[in-house]
């Protein structure tokens, strides 16, 4: 189920890696702060280090779409993307994620009524029907990335 369809890769020059923890790292992209925190909390209690990004909505240009790239995305072990894809800026982020980090598993909360271009963009991604609960997301992450406690991870 894991996507590795995209072959259009290019090198990214990055600012320093900001993750301070070496546990399995999950980047959660969610525009709603409270929901993002709830997902993060679920993932933290499941043993993952988390980063939450609100995405480009209301915050100008996402660095992922610029030359600098996005350091949290660069070193994430898995990305959970729940940006909603009615806006082109959100699709652009998704496109960049798939292009720049084709080997990083991407779990997307996908709407049921997808247009053809979005369906094509999400082809090969791990998908959850939107809106997904925190428990569903945590379970999906665990099924993709495995249980961190099984890996005996340690602090950075």
């Amino acid at each position: 189920m894991l996507s590795s369809a995209s072959t259009d890769t290019h090198t990214v020059k990055l600012s320093p890696q900001p993750w301070r923890w070496s546990h399995p790292r999950v980047l959660v992209e969610h525009p709603d702060e409270a929901t993002g925190l709830a997902i993060a909390s679920g993932l933290r209690f499941a043993g993952y280090a988390v980063a939450i990004c609100p995405g480009p909505a209301g915050h100008g240009r996402c660095p992922l779409t610029g030359p600098a790239g996005c350091a949290p995305a660069h070193d994430a072990d898995l990305v959970v993307s729940s940006l909603g894809y009615e806006h082109e800026s959100a699709r652009e982020v998704l496109r960049e994620l798939r292009t720049r980090y084709p080997d990083t598993p991407l779990l997307v909360e996908a709407p049921s009524d997808m247009d053809a271009s979005l369906r094509e963009l999400l082809d090969g991604c791990h998908q959850l029907p939107a809106p997904a609960s925190t428990e569903q997301i945590v379970a999906a992450v665990q099924s993709i990335a495995g249980h961190p406690s099984d890996e005996g991870s340690t602090d950075a």
Binding site: P18, L37, A40, A49, I52, P63, P148
Partner: protein, 392 residues
């Protein structure tokens, strides 16, 4: 001391950047004058400082995407870790009541963190210990008032409050953060904007509780939090801008002084060299381009009163390696010579007026004499048919 680098990769990149940035400085130092190297160094430093300032200003003004982070939860799923950040509000009963309430919840660990709020001036003047003691006393007094059956940990930090929270995330791994402040920042109190900054940085729930004297806890609304954040960002950006300007001014003044010093040194050196050359030139005997002289038989009286053959000029001063022309009128009927084996000179002076070239290849004072048989006494006495060539 905290490392400014977050990873080895970042430190390595910094070292590379420094090397690349210093290359033009080294090249300028090697290929040009010292002041040029200083100017290039100034340009490199200013460019670096401008970039850092630009990034810092973006961060302070909240223009960057706020990515929050948090480590995994530590302990069993039932456990909760609550970090309480407090300053002067530790004296408020309402805060202690809240701490007790949290500590009574089963499987809940509470850590009260008190930043000592050490200003840069206090760090410079060594006033750190007093502030730390003050914070320790405040914490101990507060914890003594908490019910003795409860376990509440306390910690004093000498770091900046936000860095102290970051440290606590590494050691205590909180699941929730409570920031207690007053409505407005006072002496010894935490900045009300701190809650917003912690919320922006860490992916755990952050509660901001405001305590005023004798009243219960209140939570600021979103608009107030936004105002705090805005004011704090602007104030920090202004402060950073002023510090940057002051730093740039100090650096510029230092560099200008250094350039002036180096150039002044170079000028002094040049002046010293030219003065030395002038003094040397002044001290050296005058060297004429053309020396005119005669050889005259029975011309100059000796000490016994008799007249002897003589050159009218017997002391020649020349520059080493520079030809000196001699126009000699030999009034005698036979040739004479100016011969000096030491100077490598042998000029045969034929009767009549002729021009000869005197060339000495090394410095020194050399005796010359005439090798043609003439006045024997005069041939042996400088000032007659003998003399000295001085080459400088």
């Amino acid at each position: 001391m905290r490392s400014p680098f977050q990873s080895e990769q970042e430190a390595f990149r910094f070292v590379l950047l420094v090397i690349v940035a210093l290359l033009p400085v080294v090249l300028a130092a090697v290929l040009g004058p010292a002041w040029l190297a200083l100017v290039v160094l100034a340009v490199v430093l200013l460019a670096g400082a401008a970039r850092v300032a630009q990034l810092r200003m973006r961060k302070l003004r909240g223009l960057e995407l706020p990515v929050k982070m948090a480590p995994p939860h530590v302990g069993s799923p039932e456990e909760r870790r609550v970090l309480v950040l407090a300053g002067d509000t530790l004296g408020e009963q309402a805060l202690l009541t809240e701490v007790e309430r949290l500590a009574r919840v089963p499987h809940t660990h509470v850590l009260v963190l008190v930043p000592a709020l050490i200003s840069p001036a206090a760090r410079l003047t060594g006033g750190v210990d007093g502030l730390l003691d003050q914070a320790r006393v405040r914490l101990k007094t507060a914890l003594d008032r908490v019910g003795h059956e409860l376990v509440v940990a306390g910690e004093v930090s000498d770091a900046d409050p936000l860095e102290a929270v970051e440290d606590a995330f590494a050691t205590f791994t909180p699941d929730e953060v409570i920031v207690s402040t007053r409505w407005e920042r006072g002496a010894g109190g935490l900045d009300p904007a701190l809650a917003g900054l912690v919320r922006e940085r860490f992916a755990v729930p952050v509660r901001h509780l405001v305590f005023e004297h004798g009243s219960g806890a209140q939570e600021p609304d979103a608009a107030t939090e936004a105002r705090y954040r805005h004011e704090s960002g602007d104030a920090a950006a202004r402060l950073f801008g002023l510090r940057t300007l002051a730093g740039a001014a100090v650096m510029a003044a230092l560099l200008i002084s250094l350039v002036a010093l180096v150039r002044s040194g170079e000028r002094n050196e040049a002046r010293t060299v030219s003065q030395a050359a002038a003094e040397q030139a002044a001290a050296a005997p005058h060297v004429a381009r053309l020396v005119v002289l005669k050889v005259i038989p029975e011309y100059k009286p000796g000490p016994e009163g008799e007249k002897h053959d003589a050159f009218t000029v017997t002391e020649f001063t020349v520059k080493v390696g520079q030809p000196q022309e001699l126009r000699i009128d030999n009034t005698d009927e036979v040739p004479h010579s100016i011969t000096s084996p030491g100077a490598g000179v042998n000029i045969v002076v034929m009767p009549g007026i002729h021009t000869y070239t005197l060339l000495v290849k090394h410095a020194g004072a050399f005796l010359w004499f005439c090798t043609f048989q003439c006045d024997e006494w005069a041939m042996q006495h400088p000032g007659y048919m003998s003399g000295y060539i001085t080459a400088t």
